[in-house]
Symmetry: C2
Subunit: 230 residues, 2 copies
DNA sequence: GCAAAAGTGTTATGAGTACACCCATGG
DNA sequence: CCATGGGTGTACTCATAACACTTTTGC
C-alpha cells in the first residue's frame, strides 16, 4: 500500500526592480526561521487552502516585503524531492517587476529583513533559490526582447534614455541609440508627452509614456514586438 | 490559527503525436474513477512522495498508456482552488512529443481506456484539461518556430515533405516549399542520408536526419533557430 | 566655452519573399 | 503518357546595421 501523499505547496517570487543606469535589483528577505535561518532567500511561503497561487504570491509579498508589483507571471515549478531539507515542498515560482515608485518602499515588518540586492552583487541564497533566480533572469532577458514588459520597470513617464539603458543593462549588450529608438517608436506603442525632464547635466529630455490601450488594440491583430539580440 | 495545508500535487501530460499530412493527435485516457468517471482526460495523477515531477510524468504515462515519449518539458502549473471538485489539487502540467514509432503502441492496460484523438476532433475533457490542452497547443506552436523540436514528432529518417507538412499542420498556415527548405537546411542541423523512400505515387524522396550532435555544438555558440510565422 | 546627455538621417548590406518549371517514379 | 509528389534558382523588396554630428542645458 502506498503512503498518503505528503507534499507541501509553496510559491516563491523573483521580483526585479530597476534604478537608473545598470542597476538591476532583486528583492530578498532574510529568513527568520530554520531551515536556513538568517540566510537570504526569495520572498514566498506556503499556499493557503483557499487561495489561488497568484493570491498566495501577492499575500506573501505584502506580508514579507510590503511591495506591490506591477507585473507578475508564473515562471517554473521546482519539485525535486530534496530541495527542502525537512519536508517535501514543491515551489511554484513567479517572476515579477516593480516600477521605481514602489522600489524604495520599506518593509511593513522590520526593514532589516528585506533588501533590494543588485543582481551583480547577490548573496548566497537559501534552498535552490539560486536556480530559481537564474531561471527568472533568463526569462527576463528573453521576455524583454519579444514582449514590451520593460515598461513595468520604469516610471509611467520616462526619458527615452531610461529605456535604452534598461535594455542594455538587462540584455547585457550595447545598443545603437538611433536604431533602437527608431525601432521602438515604429511599434506605435510609445507616445510622447508634453513634459520635459531636466535632471543632472546635459540637454533635458522629452518624457515618453507607454500606451497600454494602443498596445492592447495592436495585440489583437498580428502585431509583433521584437527587439533583436545581437 | 490557520489550518494545516491540505493540497495535493498532481502532474498531467499533453502528449502530441503526428501522422502524415495534417494529422496531429493528443493522447487521452478515459477515467475509471470519480470524479468525471468515464470521461476523457489527460494522462496524469498524483506525485509520489519520493519521486521528482518528471519521474511522476514518466511513471503515469507508462502505467496509464504504455507510451514512451521523446521530448518532455514543463508547461504550466494550474492551481485554482476549485479546479478539482473534491479536494484541492494543483497540477503541474507537462508537454510531450512522441515519434511515430511509439505512436501506435497500445496501452498496457485495457486499450479501450487510451486513445489518440485528433486535435481537430477532441471530446470534452474532464477538469480544466481543456485549458491545459490549449496552453500546450500554443506552446507547441510557438516552440516549433524557434526551437527545432519538430523532429521529435517524426521518424529518425524522414522525407523533407514530412517536415513541411508538419510545420504547416501545426502552425496552421501555408509555407513556401522552396523557401522553407532553403532556410531549414541553412541551419546546418539536418543531414541528407543515402536512402530514398518510395511510397505512394510520385517521385521518391531522399531521406533526411536531424543531426543532434551538430545542433548541440551550434547551441553553444550564438546559433539561432527560427522559422517565422506569417 | 566646456562637459554631458539628447536628438536626429542616410547608406549599404543581407535576409526574406514571391514565384514556376522540370524530374522521377508508378500505374 | 498521365498523375503524383519531389526537387530546384532568381529577382525584388524591405528590414536591419553601421555610422557622426548638432542641440540644449548647467556649471
Amino acid at each position: 500500500m502506498k503512503l498518503k501523499q505528503d507534499i507541501k505547496v509553496a510559491v516563491d517570487a523573483v521580483v526585479f526592480g530597476y534604478e537608473s543606469k545598470g542597476k538591476l535589483s532583486v528583492l530578498l528577505i532574510k529568513r527568520g526561521v530554520e531551515p536556513y535561518k538568517d540566510e537570504w532567500a526569495l520572498p514566498g511561503g506556503l499556499v493557503l487552502n483557499e487561495e489561488s497561487l497568484e493570491e498566495a504570491v501577492f499575500r506573501e509579498l505584502k506580508e514579507e516585503t510590503g511591495v506591490k508589483i506591477d507585473y507578475l507571471e508564473q515562471l517554473y515549478t521546482f519539485g525535486t524531492p530534496k530541495r527542502d531539507p525537512r519536508n517535501r515542498v514543491i515551489s511554484v515560482s513567479y517572476f515579477g517587476l516593480v516600477k521605481p515608485n514602489y522600489f524604495n518602499i520599506k518593509a511593513d515588518t522590520d526593514a532589516a529583513d528585506v533588501k533590494w540586492y543588485r543582481l551583480k552583487d547577490m548573496p548566497k541564497l537559501a534552498f535552490d533559490h539560486q536556480d530559481i533566480l537564474k531561471a527568472a533572469h533568463q526569462r527576463l532577458q528573453s521576455k524583454l526582447s519579444y514582449e514590451p514588459i520593460g515598461f513595468n520597470l520604469l516610471n509611467d513617464e520616462f526619458p527615452f534614455s531610461d529605456l535604452e539603458h534598461l535594455y542594455m543593462t538587462i540584455l547585457e549588450q550595447d545598443i545603437d541609440r538611433r536604431n533602437f529608438r527608431k525601432k521602438m517608436l515604429s511599434f506605435g506603442i510609445i507616445e510622447e508627452t508634453e513634459k520635459i525632464e531636466r535632471i543632472g547635466s546635459g540637454r533635458p529630455a522629452k518624457l515618453f509614456r507607454f500606451n497600454t490601450k494602443k498596445f492592447n488594440e495592436l495585440s489583437n491583430s498580428k502585431f509583433h514586438f521584437e527587439i533583436k539580440l545581437a
